[in-house]
């Protein structure tokens, strides 16, 4: 039985990726034998998937400098709904496979991309953007380490102008960093193989994260014959839009594409533009804000609570707060300094009650999370800026006098 939420998630994702949504899509059985597929077949959408012909735009930094970003696009061939298999673990010591069927049968979305990317960095950037989109939509929490988002990379090489080379499929990639490594390794390996006069086999390889290389996967036999056939238990999936919505059907059984479209949240690209427009920050700033979970919200919260201009606040967020969090491997949520405390501190700076150097010292103190307010810390360490004209004159005079005595 098909879960309604799966269909909604697939439609939302398809719309967010500029796909054409097929109002009628079909289900098929893909037959093969494996320990984690007890039924001997997987229900998928081989003939007509739910969404086709979309695109994903992502940004890359040129030359590792955040100052220059370029936008690239990868075409989405299709999105299909299918069943998950169980999870299998190799036990090489006892020469057996351990199978956990907990997730077997759960709905998956498979996104197929066209070969528009040319290196590990592009693949990583594209998948990162996809992750942010899926998280924004709520289709998936897309945490790779937990298998919520799984990526198989298909890699091939060819000389410019020539047709695409034989591709290999690389599996067992568990993070975005490893994705970039796996893709780059495989590209190099293929170039070397071909350079040595050998050929590339159309095979499946596994990424070994410890060794940083890809190895052939033992289990995969030669070319499989999946004997695709229509899934007899699932009639075609029919989706409607505002125009075609039938009047007399139970609304729970209907999916209205237009209704979903109207309710799509702001995608990361739009959010970034809005941050730039609203706060006058640079595009690369908004890129970093969205790249860290919760950072954009933290920034906006501080801006609301302080008189300091957003253009100045962003420096404190990206340079001071973020670098501290990174050093201590903390997420924004785990920050010992709340947006309230930081705003409080920035207000002192803005009112010229302390200097910028003093503010950094206070911040260093606040990191300890001892519950002191910025003002208490300032008083404790006597960091107040002197405002009194007379007092300043006295000090200056004393210094000058001291010089004269030497």
């Amino acid at each position: 039985v098909l879960n309604r939420r799966c269909v909604e998630a697939a439609v939302m994702t398809g719309l967010a990726l500029n796909c054409h949504i097929n109002k009628k899509s079909l289900f098929d059985r893909k037959h093969f034998f494996y320990a984690d597929l007890p039924a001997g077949y997987q229900i998928t959408q081989q003939r007509v998937p739910i969404a086709v012909n979309g695109s994903l735009s992502y940004s890359l930094c040129i030359d590792n400098k955040m100052s220059q970003m370029v936008t690239k696009t990868v075409r989405i061939k299709q999105i299909q709904l299918e069943q998950d298999s169980g999870k299998s673990l190799r036990d090489d010591i006892r020469s057996q496979t351990l199978v956990d069927l907990n997730r077997a049968g759960v709905g998956l979305m498979e996104l197929v991309m066209e070969p528009d990317m040319c290196c590990g960095e592009e693949a990583a950037a594209a998948v990162r953007e996809l992750q942010l989109i899926l998280q924004t939509l709520g289709s998936s929490q897309a945490v790779m380490a937990e298998g919520q988002l799984r990526v198989d990379a298909n890699v091939s090489v060819h000389h410019p102008g020539e047709p695409y080379g034989v591709r290999t499929e690389v599996k067992n990639i568990n993070s975005i960093r490893f994705l970039a490594k796996a893709v780059d390794y495989e590209i190099q390996r293929q170039i070397e193989e071909l350079g040595n006069g050998r050929t590339i086999l159309n095979e499946t390889r596994a990424f070994d994260s410890k060794l940083g290389c890809t190895v052939p996967m033992r289990d995969k036999e030669g070319k499989q014959d999946y004997r695709f056939m229509p899934e007899p238990n699932l009639p075609p999936l029919i989706l409607y839009d505002a125009k075609s919505l039938p009047a007399n059907m139970n609304y729970q059984q209907l999916i209205n594409i237009d209704w979903i479209h109207e309710r799509l949240p702001d995608l990361p690209t739009v959010k970034r533009e809005k941050l730039v427009e609203q706060y006058g920050i640079l595009p690369e700033h908004s890129f970093t804000l969205l790249n860290e979970d919760g950072l954009a919200e933290f920034f906006e919260s501080v801006v609301k609570q302080t008189q300091m201009k957003p253009k100045k606040v962003i420096g404190w967020i990206l340079n001071d707060l973020l670098s501290y969090l990174k050093q201590h491997s903390l997420t924004v949520k785990e920050s010992p300094v709340s947006s309230f405390l930081l705003a409080d501190l920035l207000n002192l700076l803005e009112k010229k009650e302390i200097s910028s150097t003093a503010a950094k010292r206070v911040l260093a103190e606040l990191w300890k999370g001892e519950g002191k307010t910025p003002l208490e810390t300032v008083k404790e360490q006597k960091l107040e800026l002197l405002q009194d004209q007379k007092e300043l004159e006295q000090i200056c005079q004393a210094v000058i006098d001291g010089q004269e005595n030497e």
Binding site: V1, L2, N3, R4, R5, V7, L26, F33, Y34, A35, S88, L89, R90, D91, D92, S95, Q96, T97, L98, V99, D100, L101, N102, R218, D219, E221, D225, R227, P230, P232, N233, L234, P235, P236, L237, I238, M249, Q252, Q253, I255
Partner: protein
């Protein structure tokens, strides 16, 4: 049209059936001939049918958890388990190549 040994071997490998003897292969041959009668029907301009249910409405289930927490009962089905896992051989054991097997097909 007689089925080639390669085709029979391919079928045995795919479906993990053993045609066993000439009677089994003969039965397969007859089954194919029976199904081939479909080719006699003119289907020009006719949309292929998926199943007799294809005009029905696909039921969409609400995303509610209505059952589960029965790992213990499910694992009882298995002869062998390790912690909460089912145990399977280390990988697919591919059928030996035709030359290595002791089957009827070898003799054909």
């Amino acid at each position: 049209q007689k089925l080639s040994v390669e085709m029979l071997d391919h079928l045995e490998r795919l479906a993990l059936v053993d045609f066993r003897d000439s009677e089994g292969v003969e039965r397969l041959q007859k089954a194919i001939q029976f199904a081939d009668q479909l080719h006699e029907v003119n289907t020009d301009g006719v949309e292929p049918m998926d199943s007799v249910l294809e005009d029905r409405c696909l039921y969409l289930r609400e995303d509610d958890v209505t059952e589960g927490n029965c790992a213990k009962e499910l694992l009882e089905n298995a002869r062998e388990t390790v912690e909460e896992y089912f145990v399977a051989p280390p990988g697919n054991i591919p059928l030996e190549k035709l030359e290595g097997r002791k089957t009827y097909l070898q003799g054909s």
